[in-house]
Every structure is written in C-alpha cells, then in structure tokens.
Symmetry: D2
Subunit: 345 residues, 4 copies
C-alpha cells in the first residue's frame, strides 16, 4: 500500500517546532534587563495568533460553502458549517479563558519591559481584524477609524481592506436566507411571500400579543418584515432575509429547519463570545496597564470599550428575538408545507 512508502512523519518536524519554539526573543534580553515575564507576554500573544489563524481557516471553509450558488438541502454543507462554527465558539472559549493567564502578570512586572515594546500594540493584530472583516464588519462601521489608520502600517491597512472587499459571512448568510436555498421553489417559498396568508395571520397574532404601551412595535414589525418601502436604510439583512430568519426561528422543530436554526444561533454565539473577549481584554488592559491621560494606551482601552459595544456583526439577527410568539400562538402550517419541511421517511 502507498502509505507504507511515505517518508515517516515525526512529531517535531511535522509541527515545525524548530520555528515555533525559536520565535521568542525578549527585548529585555537584548537590553540586558531582567524581565522574567516578557516570555509569557510573547508566548500568549503567539498562542492567540495561532488560534486566530485557525478561526480564519474555519471561516474560509465556511465561506467557500456559502459562495456556492446553490446549496442542496441534502448535501452535508450546512451541517458541516454549523459544526465548524461551533468549533469557532470552542476556540473563542479558550481565547477568553486564556486571558486569565495574562492576568497573572502584575502591573509592576509588566512595567519592567513595557517601554521596550513601543509602539507595538495588540491592536496591530491583522489576523484579528481579518476575522472581523470575514465575519462582516465593514470599515465604515469600525470604531475609531483614525486611530486605526495611525496604528497600522500601510501594508497592513491594505491587507485588512482587501479582506473587507471579499464577500463576508454576513453578506453570504443574507443571500442564503434570501434565496431560501434549502427549499427554493417549493410551496414554502409561496408561504413566505409577504402577501401570503401566513404572514397576515402572524401579524394579527403578533398584534394581539402587544400590550397598549407596546403598540409602536407593530409599525416596526411591518417595516422589518412586510413593507419593503418602509424598510430602514443601512441594514445588513434584507426584508426577505429577515422574514426567512424569523420563520426559521419559529418553526425550527421541523426537520429541514433544525440546521438553519442551529446556524443562526451559533452566529449569535460568536458575536457574544467576541464581545466577551473584548470585555475581558479591557479588564486585562486596565489591570496591567492602567490609563494615563494622553498616552496611546488610553485610547487603546477606549477603543476596546467602543468596539465591544458596536462591533456586533449579526446584531440584526439578535433583534429578531423580539418578534417571536409563543408556540401556542403560531399559525398552523399547511400540510404540504409541513411535508416539504420533513424527511422523506
């Protein structure tokens, strides 16, 4: 068999440990200063960059899937995507908890070598910005664009901008939701047209669920789901995508919608984990660095806080939760639609 003829693979060569384990050269060492914690500072950032590479790898595999014009329900494509997005969540879990290692570096220990690193900054992680861009964060929605430009080299700005030009997961998911790739021309599609009886029934049930003080929500409902002309500007998801996403959330108990529901949920979880990561990051920065008025450090902390608040990529999906109704109020689906959402057997 072929495999017997392959050159044997050995752990340290396979992992290229000669590169990985020889890439730590503390600046303090070069200056003859003793700063035992600089090694930690280097290694934890390298570990982060490895994980960022892995996240980008997963996002690239997923985006390649959704770039297909048509995704057959019966291919493993969506299943595979959900699996990979959940892995991204696990990686982000590790990234968040890893912060607690860096928090063992006390401010005083950091001050031993901090000045030697200027003007380097975690902000300069291009891979992290490419993750944001791959998910769907656009340059014009980034917080602190000037700060941004001042910290990166031209070359790096170019790399990030190029990443922003490619179709992001946000764009691809919107398109996938719009064309309802999982059941293109079937009866389902008819049901989800705005003038279909289903939506009129749903609107009526939704209206009845609102208390007096909440009547204003009905108008929002109409503009987001039914009335194309009143659709607010500047949104990432189209009215059709909204409608289909809400439908998935409501009828996720039908087989065909299991995976689309998992997909949407997992996207929301990624947003939350990124937010959590930024939040922990802020704490870590404040704890080990503090803030002096007027230094770059200060705007760094400020940047993180604002990014944590405004860099939600799938925010519009998250907001759909407000328009759900309890199961007992849901319109019953027609039988043939139910069949179309089922397994053959």
């Amino acid at each position: 068999m072929e495999k017997k003829e392959r050159k044997p693979v050995y752990y340290s060569q396979y992992l290229q440990l000669d590169k990985i384990l020889n890439a730590q050269e503390p600046e303090s060492g070069k200056e003859g200063i003793r700063a035992d914690d600089e090694m930690l500072f280097i290694i934890i950032h390298q570990a982060y960059e490895l994980w960022f590479k892995q996240i980008l790898h997963e996002l690239n595999v997923i985006r390649a899937i959704f770039k297909q014009n048509n995704i057959s329900n019966n291919s493993p494509d969506v299943y595979n995507s959900v699996h990979r997005l959940k892995r991204v969540c696990k990686i982000l879990d590790v990234a968040v908890s890893q912060m607690s290692v860096l928090e063992t570096m006390t401010p005083l220990d950091f001050l031993d070598f901090r000045d030697l690193l200027r003007p380097a900054s975690g902000f300069q992680s291009i891979q992290f910005k490419m993750i944001e861009a791959s998910l769907g964060l656009q340059y014009n929605k980034r917080h602190g664009q000037n700060y941004y430009l001042s910290q990166l080299t031209e070359q790096d700005v170019a790399r990030v901008k190029q990443a922003e030009q490619e179709e992001s997961l946000l764009v691809l998911i919107n398109r996938w939701l719009e064309r309802m790739p999982f059941i293109k021309d079937g009866s389902y599609w008819k049901e989800v047209r705005s003038d279909a009886p289903f939506w009129q029934q749903y609107r009526a049930a939704y209206e009845s669920s609102l208390q007096d003080a909440e009547q204003v929500n009905l108008k929002t409902f109409d503009s987001l789901f039914l009335n194309e002309e009143a659709y607010p500007e500047g949104r990432s998801f189209s009215l059709d995508a909204n409608k289909n996403a809400l439908f998935i959330m409501l009828y996720r108990d039908h087989p065909l919608l299991h995976l689309p529901y998992e997909l949407l949920s997992t996207l929301l979880e990624i947003d939350e984990l990124l937010s959590l990561w930024r939040h922990r990051h802020i704490h870590m920065v404040q704890r080990t660095i503090g803030k002096r008025v007027g230094t770059g450090g200060s705007s760094g902390a400020e940047y993180l806080r604002n990014a944590a608040d405004s860099h939600y990529v799938f925010k519009e999906l998250a907001e759909l939760t407000s328009f759900l109704l309890p199961r007992h109020m849901l319109p019953e689906l027609p039988k043939d639609l139910i069949r179309d959402l089922s397994y053959t057997h």
Copy 2:
C-alpha cells in the same frame, strides 16, 4: 469521647433536602401548560441564590474582621480575609459559567411560560443587592433608582437600605488603609507622610517618566496623593488611603506587604467578575428575551448595561495602576523601614 454520643448525622437530613428538593413548583404545571424548561429556570435561580448566600456569609466574616479597631500584623486576620475573598472569586467564576446552562433555554422555550411569571424579575434578587451594598455600592450611586423602587416591595427596599447603612467593605478597607493598621506607629508611618522625603522622591521620578503630552497627569498625581486641599470631592478613598494603597502596590515584594497587596488585587478581581457576570447576564437576557419597546424587560436590559458600567466599587483602587513606576525607578527605602517590613528572622 463526646463525639460518639452525638446523634448520627445523615446526608439528606444534614442538607435539609426535604426543603431544598421540594421548593420547585412550576407555574406552568399549575396552569396545566406543558413547559419542560420552567424547572431549569427555577433551579438555576435557586442555585444562584444559594451562592449569593455563601458570598454574603464570606463578606460578613471579612467585614467582622475589618471592624476590629486594630488588626495585628501577626494575627491570621488578613491572611484569612484574602483567602475568603479568593473564594468569593471562585464562586463568581462558577456563577459566570453557570450562565451557559441558562443559555440552553431557547427564546421559544422561554415564551412557553414567560407570561406566567409576570411581574417577577431577576432584578428582585435582594441578596444580590445586599452583596453590592456589603461591598460598598451606595444607593445614590446605583443606576436607575426609580426603576429600582418600582420593582421591589417596600419591605425589600428597606432590607437593602439597611444593608447600605452598615459599614461596607469599601468603608472598612479605606479605614484600614488610612490607619495603616499593619504598622501603626513605626517608622513606616513617618515615611508615608506627605512631606516625607519618600514622596518627594517618588513625585520627581513620576514627573520624569511623563512624556510631554502627559504632563497634565502630574497635577492629578498631586491632588490624589499630596495636596489635601486639591483633593477631588465625592471619592470613597481618602488621600491617606490612596497613598498607602499605592505604597503597597509598589513595595509588595517586602514580606509585610505581600498580603495587603493580595487583598487589594483580589478586591479588583471581584469588581471585574461582577462586571463579567452582568455582561454575561445582558447577553443571556437579550438572547432568550429580546427587547420590545415599552416593556419592563427592555428597561431590565438597559439597567444591566448601565450597572455593568457604573457599579464598580473599587474603581479608585483600579485607577492607582496609572501612577505606578517601574521597579528600577523606585526610590530606595531606608534600612530601618525595610526591617520593619520584614519577618523577625
């Protein structure tokens, strides 16, 4: 021996499991509605309340320690307090990660019984408010005082207010820092007086560390550490407390200051973990509930966000980090002071 005469203790009686395990009566059951997730909703909140009770227990033990007029360096008091505060951190770690269990309740599953719970709200957890009060959050610094009053019963408002009237950990720590309880009348005390050579040396070193754009920090430094008259109003820590806290952070490598440093660090960690808990809480609320304009739920989420930003109790301690200098710039301490900060042997 006595112990043989004690009535034998049995696990389920000792833990009063008849009470603990018979305290779950889902509202959905009373209404004849099937809502399998209501049990989870009840149990996780009960688990939280158990942990809150434990945190209050620890805080009470710690506050009793610091209420003593004098804490001998050689008593185990501070050691014990640090140990207990670190336990509080571990509990908060669990409280944060526990949120991921509640996040397995999907919005649709929550809607099955949500309406049956009105107007109950997690906001009504009196124990959580007592924890905040025990740490040092004052009523007038609480976010959303009106919302606050509208959600609680008069009796509960009274309980929280009473808790706020007792000496909080914040007040006690300030007093402990002020009187430098760990070395009351020794040479150290002389060194930390504002006109002592030490502080003038430190100020000079600090000034030399500032870049041009940062000179404004020197004024802040003076007002926080040296110039009683310029001391900003409304702060929790006094100028003396500030000064001693900074001294502890700088010279924590001396034996007598090990534990005080751990104490201050752990207080900051508690603030961070509470903030993290609120942050996760916000996510969970948004994910399972969403927000409708005009409902109480919406102000609940808003409340949490603002509380997460403004309810830092030991914020002023956290800010001291900005005034640290690297070890190589620290003024050398006089020999007799060093001896006073040491073990006998």
Copy 3:
C-alpha cells in the same frame, strides 16, 4: 386576557427562597464551635443536589420520549432529546468546575467540623445514584456493592433499586437502535441486515485496512456485527443495535442520520463528564481529607476511583470507534437508500 387575572408572581415567592435560604444549619453552630467553612460545605452540596434534580428532570423527559413505541422521524422528539442531553453536559460542566470552590476549603478548615458530620457522606446522595440508574448503571455492575449497602438506609437502597428497575436510557437507546425507529421498514432496513451486500463490502474493506498484527480484530468485528452465534455474553447492546450504531457513525453526513449521530456522541460525552466529575471528586477528597488506613473515608476514595473506571454506561458505544473506516474506503450507498436518508426537498 386571562394572564391579567393571574395572581402576580414575585421573585422570592416563586423561587420559595424562604425554604431554600433557611435550610442551612451548621452542626458546628449547634455545638458552639466556630467553623466558618461549614456553611460552604452545606451550600455547595445543596447546589449539587439542585443540579442533580435538574439532570433527573431532563433524563425523565428524554426517557418518556424513548418509551414511545415509535418515534416518527418528523417529530421533534430526537431533536428535543439531543438538545436536553447537551444541556445535561452543560450542567455537568458546571458541576465539575464547581469542585474548585470546595477545594478552597483547606484540610485544616475541614477538620474543624469534620467529626461532627459522622457518618454522613457524599456517597449517600440518592439523586446521584438515581442519575446513574436512569442512565443505565445496573446494581450488579456497580462497584463496591457491600460498601454501598452499608452506607445507605434501607429506604434509600429501595429507592435506588426501584430506579434501576425502570427502563433506563441505555435500554431504551438499545431498543431504539434495534428497531431503527427512524426508518423502520424502508430499503435501509434491508441494507443493514447482516447478509446484505453492504456489510460484506464493509467487512472486506475493514479486513484490507488491518495490518498483519491486527488480524485478530476481524474476528471481533464478526462477533460484534455479523455472527449472532459468536456474540459475547453480558453486553448491553445487541448485535443489531451495534450494527445500526456503526452505520450511523459512518453515514452521519446524510440528513436523516445527523441527529442520531449527535445523540450517540452526546451520550459518550455524558459518560466522559461523569468520569471527569468522579476524577475531580477523588482529588478533592484526597486533598481535603487525606486517607487513614482503616477509616470509612479510605474506602470512600477507593470507591470513587473504581467507580470512575468502571461506571461507564455507554462503553460499548465508545468502543465502536475502533471499527470505523476512513470515508474514502466506505462502500457507496444505493441511490434509493440515499434518497430515504434525505429531506423531501
């Protein structure tokens, strides 16, 4: 609307906090001994019992599902079960990490009140034994049956035995796998008969994958999947169940098998988490208690170690991994079978 007529629900009544928060009476208090850590000891065990109740609740919901004679593929039953099993995993995650709170109790602090608790023991948690029984641990496979009997009251032994008499998840899953509930009489069923071409092809591929030293595995393969007469005694899963479980693992990329695969994976995860919990438990016991020759404590630690090794409920499922082949070696499925494993659309 009805809901307006309901009695308003208030947080503390809803959660019955009067019971929950008044169920802690330290023995040390009764004896006038100061032991500040006994509260922690009580509360953490109560928190565990709350979680055990929730796990039992989930297992009961799941078992009720699988007790149905027939589970339609198109009902949300399996989806719901997988969701609940994943929740059990999250709860067990919390249970494991919660151990770190108890580990903050040092041996010396435990000794302050340890003697007052005799002969209570965590081993006496009936709910934990009921969880094991509900999953499928049989009395005769329990480690340390004598120890077991000596520690529990007759009444408690009876409760556990009764739980063992009910159909466990293990029994139900075996039956579900056997009858291939998800596609009972279709072409699939024909394919998975032992004499079907599929299994002969798979056996040939499996044989070709074995190196010389591994040829003995082929015999095991035959006895577990093909040759009813050679089937080993005393196993929980039948030959048919094995075969179907392996098929699910191999062809999980087909829509109909997504959820069954998730189900099997999650059962394995539960076994692992329970093992992890026992492992952490052993550490905690050794760390806070130590072991003296001849005391009950010693057999307690021993018990845990053996239970950790032998109480795997779904062990036979875990072993199937050894009989998987890489995708490129898998026999191609007939087209009509593929269709039967698909969504309608």
Copy 4:
C-alpha cells in the same frame, strides 16, 4: 531618554509571526487529499508546545531560586516562586480546557488524514517529558520505559535523560524543607528536632485521635516522622523534610509559614492538574481514535492511563494530609517560637 533611540517595535515582527504563522503544512495538502481538520490538528499541538515552553521557562526560574544555598525569608524569592507556580496552574487550566477544541474533531474527520502521520505521536513531545523531569519524575519511575524508548529518537531520549540529571524541583524542595531555609538556626529548629517536646506532644494527640481500627496508623506515623531507622526506602522526601512539611501545614496561620504553605499547596495542585490533563487526554484519544488490538495507538492509551495513575511527583506531600489534627488538638507553641514566626512589627 534612551528609550526614544530604540528601533520601534512592531507587533508582527516582535512576535515573529512570519515563523509562527508559516509553520503549518498539512500532509494531506502534500498528497492532494482534502482533510480540512488537519490544520486544527497541527495548530492545537503547536499551541500546546508554546505553553509547554512557557511552563519550562517558569520551572527554570523557580529552580534557579531554589538552587541557592540559602533563601532569606525576607527576599521575595518564595513569594515569587509561589506566584509562578500559580501561573503554571493557570496555564494547565487552559491546557485542560483546550482539549475541548480538539474534541470537536470527529473520528471520521481524523481518519481522513490519520494514516499520513505515522508514526508521529503526541508521546514524542520532548518538552512535556522535560516538564515531568523538571518537576521530579525519574526515569525509573516512568511508566512504560520500553514503549518510551521505542517511540523517541536517540537524540530525544538523550535530551530527556539530561533533563532528569539536573536537580529537579522535587529534589530542591526536599532540600529546602530539610534545611528549613526560612529559619535556619533559630528556636524553631530546636522545636522540630525529633526528640523535641513538640513532637512527643503531637504524637500523643495523634494517638488519641485514632479509633481502634486505626491504631496501625501510629506505626506509620512513627516511621515517617520520628524513627529514622524505620523510615521506608525509596522515598523522595526525607524524614526531616516530612516533619517540616507537616509543621508548615499545621501552623500555616503564622506569618512566616503563609508562603511555605501556599508553596506546598500549589505543588499539589500542579500534580492534580497534570493528572487531569492526562485524564482528558485519554478521553480525547479514545474518542477520536478508538483502540484496535495490536496497534501502537492502543499502547498509547494504555500508557496514558498508567501515567495518569503513577506519575504523581509530590505524592508524598499529598499523603501528609492524613496526619493532620484539628486546630483544637494542636500543641501550643512556645512564645519565643511564635515570635520567630512573626513579622518584626
């Protein structure tokens, strides 16, 4: 100022990301096989190796401290060591939870590229073996020495053996405990001599605490703490070290013993975390690989299980817990000894 003249440091150069992010070359890519999960497999192992390097760095700093002939109580040496050991614990926490990322790789996905990696194996991680050796695991106590030799290159065996020849932390801690470095010739030393009244008092109290069935423990007590001639062979800690370690555990509430107690506790925690890591590792291996009789994989899993049980480095310290007495039974210390265990002030 000097620092202005330094070459500016930029994030990606500082972290040598050109090396770190260009060290992933999947074997599947070379063979033209699609195996999207191989990237994860490479990256997670690289992340582990980075963390192993950091752990070795910390252990080297700590060993350098304990190699000093004399450690002054008033130097920050022990404080620093405890801090670094606690960091090692945090790193091991991350290492353990990181396993959950690898567990997202299903057996089928691993089989896509598994054969291409032969005979590489995680067992070949030289850094992990160096960690074990640095802590104190000796070659002759390693499980599976033959397996060991068969899997590593001669060069690697040589590296590990050299690491085993250096003074391990175990050896250094034993010596530090023996010479009671923290209070060499003071009254304390007199108290802990075997014939000192203290130990006779303690022995009497210990005896009185034993129940009838436990009397055999007294003999063990004598051989471990008092009777040099009956001291068991082959132990890592000497009788003097045992005695001092037990004294530290008992009187840790005195200032001078705070840090030594933390040190001993943290060493035990490292052992537990390594055991936990091996335990999770076993699960992961079994889940993704399974076991076939006769392959190297099978002995790999077996190896891990046995290593998990037998590679405890500080086992003898852990066992001391069994000889503790409750505080109320402890002999009172003489006043001058108490003073020697105190701060000057």
